[in-house]
């Protein structure tokens, strides 16, 4: 069972009643697996992480145990309710799950969300493997209710996506009752001041509990070296130092158990703290007046491994490896065969001299760089529609006549892009905002969003219409262009139009993801075929850079090299002046 699966299982066993999240690697599978228990747990993909936390908060106020999950950067979006809900505390237990991504495997930064716990005044647990994921999420619900605190379960990619053996339990129902109490739950200044006192007292009580909790434990092998670690770093450290060190393995990492740390360190000849990211534990240990080492040897960047720890602390030489004189060509992820985004980026290339583009987070982020050089900046969810407002002003002041294009997807539009669109329209910004609507949250593996007709739990729900949302801003219909991105003539015409005035334009680039089950089914065996006789070898078609299409160096002809992945979208066909490419099949 993966860490994510184990969190879902543990929450179900703990009697959770409501769970909400916005998808984000490596946290996505928590809610996906939670929905397997939909008979017992109401599960929802929220439009963004703030909403997910607020849905969970409502359930907690209502007396149910609730969970909200997000990737690390999602916690930034959710920080607003979290900081104030920390003051209110809970009615039903409430657990926030943050999945951090040291090493940026699939993220825009490697922020260490442990720092949120002291900042927002949360209790925090850090599991190391899947069994602990299950056990700790259950413990977190107990502690949340016992100490009236919001609890943060902090995971990392290697905890979320590693699989290990798990002993499962059964579900214990946890019915609750809504008890209105504005003094506790309505955070106006007079109440908030009092609740701030309460949350500090509750944290102090949790700190006392942490001193003797079985979630914090020691493993003693002499006094030469003491190692302090939490989460997956403990596993790496245990492997790296073996029985040459004693260990303090911390499960509760906020508040930290000062006495336990002091007792462990007393008499140790050397103390080493092993942690990825920020020197969170190291600084806490040093604040107790205990000399220790950590970040002097390891960096804030990347993941740790047993080997990196050994290398950092000079244990054993570098491992011997086998060297080859050949190099493997880079294989970064790329837009799939048949991807609608390829059509948009391919058309936009024709206008690079007349526009500047701003990207966002999603599959279409893969359009940055070669071969399409699709956009210049990419920061966070929704910013693809707001950065253009400021950038357009900057270009205007510099007398630069290029128009700024903002690019984001349907799910990102619902996440927060719509807010930015409203500002752009309201400010009469000289921008063209493009929604690459592929009818699904694709990057994280096809999660439903507000635009889909089916919910996470498999129920029919009203699909929210993006076009109508855009028109609701008052933008005239003639400046809202709906285009199939694979249709190059239409996409070129739309971009031309948007470039023709200094007004705000919106392009709705609409075509569903080629990998959607229903799209695959409807497509049947539709594919493109190349007539080798007619092909002149001009390579115009290969400029679309489709993974299913290659140029055969031997025959000097274009070739559908991977017919199984060709979707017959026909983008390559539109480039052929000799009629050598045609569509074939198409019967489901």
């Amino acid at each position: 069972m993966s860490g994510d699966e184990a969190v879902a299982r543990g929450a179900w066993e703990a009697g959770v009643g409501v769970a909400a999240a916005y998808p984000g690697t490596p946290s996505t599978e928590i809610l996906e697996n939670m929905s397997l228990y939909k008979d017992d747990v109401y599960c929802q993909w929220a439009n963004n992480e703030k909403i997910a936390v607020e849905i969970a908060l409502g359930a907690s106020f209502g007396g149910l145990r609730s969970l909200a999950a997000f990737k690390h950067v999602g916690m930034n979006a959710a920080a607003d309710p979290i900081f104030s809900a920390a003051y209110t505390g809970v009615n039903g237990g409430m657990v926030l799950v943050s999945a951090d991504d040291p090493g940026c495997w699939s993220s825009q930064n490697e922020q260490d969300n442990r720092l949120y716990a002291p900042h927002a005044r949360l209790g925090m647990l850090e599991p190391a493997d899947s069994q602990e994921c299950l056990d700790y999420v259950k413990a977190a619900f107990e502690l949340s209710e016992k100490f009236d605190l919001l609890m943060l379960l902090r995971m990392t990619t290697r905890v979320c996506h590693s699989k290990s053996l798990v002993e499962q339990g059964e579900r214990a129902e946890h019915p609750g009752v809504y008890k209105p109490d504005p003094a506790k739950y309505a955070m106006l200044p007079a109440n908030a001041r009092k609740r701030h006192v309460a949350v500090e007292a509750n944290l102090a009580a949790l700190k006392e509990y942490a001193e003797t909790s079985p979630l914090n434990r020691t493993e003693m092998h002499g006094t030469k070296l003491g190692v302090i670690a939490s989460g997956v770093c403990w596993l790496h450290a245990r492997e790296a130092f073996g029985e040459d060190a004693s260990y303090l393995k911390l499960g509760i990492t906020h508040p930290l158990p000062d006495r336990l740390i002091r007792d462990f360190c007393a008499g140790m000849e050397r103390i080493i703290v092993i942690e990825e990211g920020e020197p969170y534990l190291e600084e806490a240990v040093k604040a107790l007046g205990i000399p220790c080492e950590g970040k002097a040897y390891t960096t804030r960047q990347g993941e740790l491994s047993a080997q990196r720890i050994r290398a950092a602390f000079g244990l054993g030489g570098a491992p011997e490896t086998v060297q080859s004189s050949l190099t493997a060509p880079a294989r970064p992820p790329a837009l799939c065969a048949g991807c609608p985004h390829r059509g948009f980026y391919f058309a936009m290339q024709n206008y690079h001299k007349r526009l500047v583009a701003v990207g966002d987070i999603g599959c279409y982020s893969l359009g940055v760089g070669e071969p399409f050089r699709g956009f210049d900046t990419c920061i966070c969810m929704g910013s693809g529609f707001s950065i253009p407002i400021g950038l357009a002003k900057a270009l205007e002041k510099q007398g630069d006549g290029r128009k700024v294009f903002g690019i984001l997807g349907d799910s990102t539009f619902f996440h927060s892009g719509f807010n930015s669109l409203v500002d752009a329209v309201h400010a009469k910004a000289n921008v063209c905002l493009v929604v690459l609507d592929n009818s699904i949250t694709a990057m994280t593996g096809h999660q439903q969003n507000a635009g889909t007709e089916i919910s996470l739990m498999g129920y029919e729900v009203p699909a929210i219409n993006i076009r109508r949302m855009v028109l609701a801003t008052g933008l005239p219909e003639e400046r809202v262009l709906e285009v199939d991105p694979i249709d190059q003539a239409a996409m070129n015409a739309a971009i031309e139009k948007a470039l023709s005035t200094k007004e705000t334009w919106v392009i709705l680039s609409r075509r569903p993801c080629a990998l959607l089950k229903e799209v695959i089914k409807a497509r049947g065996d539709l594919r493109c075929e190349i007539d080798a006789e007619a092909c002149r070898g001009c390579r115009a078609c290969t400029k679309v850079v489709c993974p299913a299409l290659t140029f055969d160096a031997k025959t000097k002809k274009a070739l559908i090299s991977d017919p199984a992945s060709c979707t017959g979208c026909g983008l390559c066909m539109q480039q052929c002046r000799f009629g050598a490419i045609r569509k074939a099949g198409g019967k489901a």
Partner: protein, 188 residues
């Protein structure tokens, strides 16, 4: 004793399912098993690595450079890319299947077609034509299970009902195909 296996391929080749089946088998044999995967971009043609470690008691889930006892590569150039992870004296099991990365399609890089010969020479790589076998069976997607057949043969494991496990873990419609591919992989 811990055995570390790195499985590598290209998104869509089924490396993750293969690792799942292998882990389930090892767990049923009573080993402590940890498996780690990086799959945020797995459907988009990028490199996909899964790492599996088994033994009496396994702590860390991932494998560092020079630490893999065995590399299983589903694609030729991915075997080459994973080479730094191989322990000196470790072994390689690889398919000679070639999947062109984008950098080769755009002409920015050249595909090292001789990588299988190079790895045979450098590290005694065992090359299995699993992709071709799977295609000859009429089911190109069973390449991964064919490799699994060669893989379980290469590991010093007690006898185990792998076929029963595979039948339980692959999509029902593909059981026959996959079992045929598994048997051919074992013979390879």
């Amino acid at each position: 004793m811990i055995t570390s296996i790195l499985l590598t391929g290209v998104g869509g080749q089924g490396t993750i399912l293969t690792t799942k089946i292998l882990s389930a088998g090892l767990a049923q044999m009573g080993y402590d098993v940890k498996m780690s995967e990086i799959h945020g971009m797995s459907q988009r043609g990028g490199t996909v690595n899964t790492q599996l470690r088994y033994g009496d008691r396994v702590y860390a889930p991932n494998i560092g450079e020079g630490e893999a006892d065995l590399i299983v590569a589903f694609e030729k150039t991915e075997a080459l890319r994973a080479l730094p992870y191989l322990k000196k004296g470790g072994s390689i099991l690889m398919d000679r299947k070639e999947i062109m990365p984008m950098s080769v399609l755009t002409g920015a890089a050249e595909y090292p077609h001789g990588a299988d010969k190079e790895l045979e020479k450098l590290a005694g790589a065992k090359v299995v034509a699993a992709g071709e076998i799977a295609e000859s069976l009429g089911s190109p997607k069973s390449q991964n299970i064919c490799l699994l057949g060669a893989l379980v043969k290469a590991l010093p494991l007690p006898s185990f009902d792998w076929e029963g496990l595979i039948a339980a873990m692959v999509p029902p419609k593909t059981v026959e195909m996959n079992l045929a591919a598994f048997r051919r992989g074992r013979e390879a």
